[in-house]
């Protein structure tokens, strides 16, 4: 007899570092306490999963290249940016207070089997293909796959 685990499903729409950290802190804490966790990456959230954050693909047209270039490089933070100062300070503060960095959290998330779904519709708009992403992606799928996961989840969040 298998026990049915409680589920949490997060849509990560935002590409900002602080929101990604919030999402992965919740995801890893939930997975560590025996929940099934799925993150559905869409729009700017896809940037978190990119192999090289500056990368443009040869299959992208000019507009897509510009769009990706502007939207990536380093993940900004949602509140203050000021030429990157906000992100730099946040990293420093996290290090000083021994808080896990986004990369640490993402590594932990994979060890805890957090499921990553990359939104195929957003990939299409931005001209991104599987080769642009790290191997961490579990599945490429659309909104109906998200809904099937979310319907069974005790906790649903849009971040």
């Amino acid at each position: 007899m298998t026990e049915q685990k409680d589920k949490m499903t997060i849509i990560l729409f935002s590409g900002e570092m602080d929101k990604a950290i919030a999402a992965f802190t919740l995801a890893t804490t939930a997975a560590a306490s025996n929940m099934d966790v799925t993150i559905f990456f869409t729009f700017w959230g896809l940037n978190v999963l990119k192999k090289f954050r500056f990368a443009v693909s040869s299959s992208q047209n000019i507009l897509q290249k510009m769009f990706n270039f502007m939207s990536t490089s380093e993940l900004p933070i949602s509140k203050l940016n000021m030429f990157g100062l906000g992100s730099w300070m946040m990293k420093k503060l996290m290090k000083k207070s021994k808080m896990a960095s986004l990369d640490d959290l993402m590594k932990l998330a994979k060890e805890l089997n957090v499921k990553y779904i990359a939104c195929t519709t957003s990939c299409g708009v931005m001209g991104l293909t599987k080769e642009n992403f790290t191997d961490d992606v579990t599945e490429f799928a659309g909104a109906s796959t998200y809904l099937a996961e979310a319907k069974d989840s005790k906790i649903n969040l849009f971040i």
Copy 2:
């Protein structure tokens, strides 16, 4: 014997084009797969439902007129704006990749009977009356109506 449908309820707080597209993509996909979907439009989200996005009403005082003027015109996108370039690029990219536009999604949402509730409290603050909105609005109501819908929903999101 009537079957009880699964429900999804979305609060659309944001007035940005990318977030509105995310909300309507989820709403139409859910409604197409036989779910009951309600969107509760509040604060900037109300801009999505306005008849004329530039319109000011004769019943608005000066402050309300300024507030509406600043907040509408074209829906911006949440991440990059740069004098409207972001919105323009996103529309181009969506067209190229044959993704449905916000207007297409909203038309589809009405055909699929997605329910629109416009928040009366926000309307009051912004000086908006029923005449400012398209006929798509199903109901004008407040937070307690939202809560009654959300309590029965399997998926609740704040966008």
Copy 3:
């Protein structure tokens, strides 16, 4: 025999005035209609609970002081700021339309026993201690406490 109340749990991640007003409007409306409501304050959302919004603590290092200074003063609004004009206009409009202010809503929330949890991890990063917060905080705790609350909730939102 005690009746089990329906629960709502909100993560308040944002420090903007308009989002805080949305969160507290939902929280007070739910609590007034006999729901159990918990708000989990994290990242910028902690600013809403600070005793003095400009305050820096003697236990903070230079970086933390800068981070707090930049992030507080007055709560901005998410969409338009323009040197504070947005917040000022919103307050004026709310007063004119007799809508409750954030301070009114927060007072009401405490009367209705809305539970406030301040995120200990975020406090650590920002160098904030219990002395920096108003007495309204019910509990200092981390993500696992949030998850325990959220799992039993009919409505979960991330704002």
